[in-house]
């Protein structure tokens, strides 16, 4: 909401920038990015956040998003940045926003953006995904993953904004493995469930988890009988060791002595 007594045609300046990590969970993973953006703007109003607005004829709230997970894919690691016209306590803001959004759209962290530390987008070049394949025998998944890893190139097809495109889904994948985690909710009781752990670098055109699944079908005929459930676990910079660095790390204040 615009402040009182603002200069004609002007908007209050941004005095604080905050970066948020949020999750899309459960049924609300079907929220598209557009849906989320509308819900987030309403949540800013409900929570009374002193958001800053852009200049111009139709002022827009200052929000910028880092690459959003596809509709239908859950995520524990979505990021956005907001510009505020008054300073707030990040944890208070996190709680207010989290309460203002539907359960399942959860605001997990808020940190003050460090000046000169670069944009969020500059700190993200890879994603860590978890693919759950209910009713798929882990051994079968294992074999498919192996075939995928051994292939130099795995061509897949997808509809993009530019039309149908064929591209390689192999190169961008830096890690793919079948894991044995058992703390995950299983889709079908008793039925086997294969879980694939996947790290993919950001490339153009983007290689998404469903492209890797297409790739597994292409190299080994892996056909999950029910739609796999995909979750983004993390995003960030990929280190030489293959780890992903949390993009908010650079903003976090060093622990104060005492």
């Amino acid at each position: 909401m615009a402040p009182k007594n603002q200069p004609v045609g002007g908007q209050a300046p941004v005095v604080q920038r905050l970066r948020l990590r949020y999750a899309k969970r459960g049924p609300l993973r079907f929220t598209s990015h557009r849906d989320f953006a509308r819900a987030f703007e309403r949540a800013l109003r409900r929570a009374g956040v002193p958001i800053a607005f852009s200049q111009g004829f139709t002022p827009h709230p200052k929000i910028s998003y880092a690459s959003a997970a596809p509709t239908g894919v859950g995520s524990e690691a979505e990021y956005l940045e907001i510009g505020l016209q008054a300073e707030v306590d990040p944890e208070m803001l996190r709680r207010a926003l989290d309460a203002a959004l539907s359960p399942g759209l959860d605001v997990l962290e808020a940190v003050i953006a460090r000046e000169g530390g670069g944009s969020l987008a500059d700190r993200i070049d890879a994603s860590h995904w978890r693919l759950e394949l209910p009713q798929v025998d882990p051994a079968e998944a294992e074999a498919a993953v192996k075939a995928f890893q051994e292939a130099g190139e795995v061509l897949v097809e997808r509809m993009t904004k530019q039309g149908r495109r064929t591209f390689d889904a192999r190169q961008a994948v830096t890690r793919i493995a079948v894991t044995q985690q058992s703390d995950l909710p299983s889709e079908a009781d008793g039925a086997p469930c294969a879980i694939i752990d996947l790290v993919v670098r950001q490339v153009t055109p983007a290689v998404r988890p469903d492209d890797v699944l297409s790739g597994l079908r292409a190299v080994a005929g892996l056909e999950p009988p029910v739609p796999p459930r995909v979750t983004r676990l993390a995003q960030g910079m990929l280190t030489a060791q293959g780890e992903i660095v949390d993009p908010l790390d650079a903003d976090r204040e060093p622990a104060l002595p005492g």
Partner: protein, 648 residues
């Protein structure tokens, strides 16, 4: 016995359908209750797509009223698109609620809200998907009571075979009363099963149970009579009227969807009913008398509704919002309160004679001008007298000039085609009117850069209106007039360029006419259309005229009637109409007199500012006009800006 969620099965299908978010619920304001902790359970359905159904006020109000009762659970369900319908059939997933994804069949009541008759085929799809027999007669004790409400239920005869009961009129108190009857019947151990429950509902004298009434026909196809087939149900069923809207300030917690819907705003009804007396308007006739919500209650609802929802637009709803006795103070008060925010105000279509410069300024206070819509409805002075829309061309020109000189660049004008006694000339006058609007508007605005849109649709005669006896015009005639009008608008190139033209063809209106004034025999047509795949009849991309024509031709001859008989035939004074046993309070003789007055172009006043003209409603329904002014003003709000609302 507890009922489990069908979400695990549904979830497998969602990645394969368009806009899956519409099926997952999770709206702000949605309520999920423990099934076993409640005794009476309602599934409320708006039988259209989620994007249209979710914002519906009627459903939102009843949902909240019901859920406020501790032992009552209400959830919502909407029509699923054909892509999901096919998958649900293939995988055996039943019609579900979006709140907790429970199967609709498990509820005690399936309450359908029919704002329009075009939702009938969608009701059949939902019943079918739910596993509830289509015919009321085939349902057993495990099936919900299928209950119709909303404006179309003032003539539910075409769907009489498919529903178990219908409520005419306002629902707030009705749903609580029905809940009470079901609660009692369940507590007593469901004596007499389903039939006894329906009987108890019918005995209220304001819930219509079609199975307790028989319809006899004359050899020529007309209805001979509609009479109860048992001694203990009333001859006529009365409508409901909620008096004192201040006592019912709903919705308090509007539903805020994640999916995109037709309206993203907080809507408050500022009054119900309308006595302007437009003769085509069923809504105005069946919702009498006028009952205003006071300026202070509206102010309170807006404040709380916006805080709750985070919406940035407020809609002040009613059948003719500018007629509220304190509309000026209401708009200026709200504009003042929200002056420093990006909240905007809007009114649905505004009466030409009630719009003025003050209102124009309040609606455009923070530079945001939401659309302005006026509905002169008829092109010529003569036809406006026939329909009792008492506005003159001068009124209209004066009003649009006000709008254009207050910064609006675009106004919308609504008209109807195919009105009783209408000639080509009446319709062509719309073009002259639009030309004059542009000419006067250009002068007032001092620029050529203004526009108006002429929007025109086919007239559909409705039950409980003076035009219930009127013949419909044939679609060919309507389409020819619409084409003529287009040419006439474009006959002046300069003016024509500034005029947008939107029209609805005559064909869908004819089918709406069949469904509006149909009787029980029309049910067979609806069923046949649905069997042939008819769904979403309110959507031009799904509506098939051919399918309706074909189906009508297949099933109606058996009864010695046809589509024309229901639509383009004029009724006589003494003909028994299918809805005569359903009491809207309007005196049939008064309606007939008003029909005759219309043919002689005689106008009827408004009982709010002239004496009661005995339409029959108030004495028979024991109601009265409730209007202001209260003289109260909206107080400035304490600014809430920059205060985080952190939950404790």
């Amino acid at each position: 016995m507890s009922v489990s969620s069908v979400f695990p099965q549904l979830e497998q299908l969602l990645p394969r359908v368009s806009k899956p978010i519409q099926y997952v619920g999770g709206e702000l304001g949605a309520v999920v209750k423990d099934w076993d902790a409640t005794t009476v359970r309602w599934a409320l359905m708006y039988p259209d797509a989620y994007e249209v159904g979710l914002p519906n006020q009627g459903v939102q109000i009843l949902y909240e009223v019901l859920n406020e009762q501790p032992d009552v659970l209400a959830e919502r369900t909407y029509a699923v698109w054909p892509d999901l319908e096919a998958l649900m059939k293939e995988h055996g997933v039943p019609q579900f609620t979006v709140d907790a994804h429970r199967p609709v069949k498990a509820f005690d009541v399936l309450g359908l809200s029919f704002a329009t008759e075009l939702g009938y085929t969608n009701m059949l799809s939902a019943l079918d998907l739910a596993g509830i027999p289509l015919d009321s007669a085939d349902r057993g004790d495990d099936d919900p009571i299928v209950l119709a409400g909303g404006h179309a239920s003032f003539n539910p005869e075409p769907i009489a075979d498919f529903i178990d009961a219908a409520v005419l009129g306002d629902g707030e108190e009705a749903v609580l009363e029905i809940t009470g009857i079901i609660r009692e019947w369940k507590d007593e151990g469901r004596p007499g099963g389903r039939d006894e429950l329906l009987l108890r509902l019918a005995r209220t004298e304001s819930i219509y149970v079609p199975r307790f009434y028989d319809v006899d026909y004359l050899p020529d196809g007309r209805i001979q009579r509609v009479v109860p087939n048992r001694p203990d149900v009333p001859f006529r069923v009365a409508k409901r009227t909620t008096m004192d809207l201040d006592a019912w300030p709903y919705p308090k917690k509007p539903l805020v969807p994640l999916a995109e819907t037709v309206h993203e705003r907080y809507a408050v009804e500022i009054f119900r009913g309308c006595t302007r007396g437009c003769r085509f308007c069923q809504a105005g006739m069946i919702t009498r008398p006028v009952r205003e919500r006071s300026i202070t209650t509206v102010g309170q609802m807006v404040k709380e509704g916006l805080e709750f929802s985070g919406f940035s637009e407020v809609g002040l709803l009613s059948l003719s919002s500018a007629d509220h006795s304190e509309i000026g103070d209401m708009c200026s008060g709200l504009a003042e309160q929200y002056a420093d925010t990006n909240v905007s105000l809007s009114l649905p279509s505004t009466r030409v004679d009630a719009f003025n410069i003050d209102l124009a300024q309040e609606l455009s206070r923070n530079g945001r001008r939401t659309g302005l819509t006026f509905a002169p409805e008829g092109g010529s002075e003569r036809i406006r007298k026939v329909i009792n829309k008492m506005v003159t061309k001068e009124d209209l020109i004066r009003t649009v000039v006000t709008a254009y000189s207050n910064g609006w660049r675009q106004v919308k004008l609504y008209f109807m085609c195919g009105l009783p006694t209408e000639t080509d000339e009446d319709v062509l006058e719309i073009a002259q009117m639009a030309h004059e609007v542009i000419r006067a508007g250009r002068e007032a605005a001092g620029t050529k850069d203004i526009r108006c849109t002429v929007s025109i649709g086919g007239f559909v005669p409705k039950p409980h209106t003076p035009f219930q006896w009127a013949p419909m015009e044939r679609p060919e005639v309507i389409d020819a007039r619409l084409k003529m009008l287009k040419q006439e608008i474009n006959s002046d190139r300069s003016l024509g360029r500034a005029i947008g033209y939107r029209y609805h063809d005559g064909e869908p209106s004819l089918i709406e006419g069949l469904l509006s004034r149909g009787d029980r025999r029309v049910g067979a047509v609806i069923r046949r259309v649905w069997e042939k795949g008819g769904r979403f009849d309110g959507w031009s991309e799904h509506f098939s005229y051919a399918r309706w024509i074909e189906s009508a031709a297949e099933v109606l001859p058996e009864y010695g009637v046809d589509l024309d008989w229901f639509t383009t035939r004029e009724r006589e004074q003494l003909e028994v109409l299918p809805w005569d046993h359903l009491d809207s309070g309007l005196d049939k003789d008064w309606l007939w007199q008003d029909w005759q007055d219309s043919l002689t172009e005689y106008e009827q006043d408004d009982c709010r500012w002239t004496p009661c003209f005995d339409c029959g409603v108030c004495p028979s329904m024991d109601t009265e006009i409730q209007i202001g002014p209260t003289g109260k003003k909206l107080l400035p709000l304490t600014p809430v800006t920059n205060t985080l609302r952190v939950p404790v």
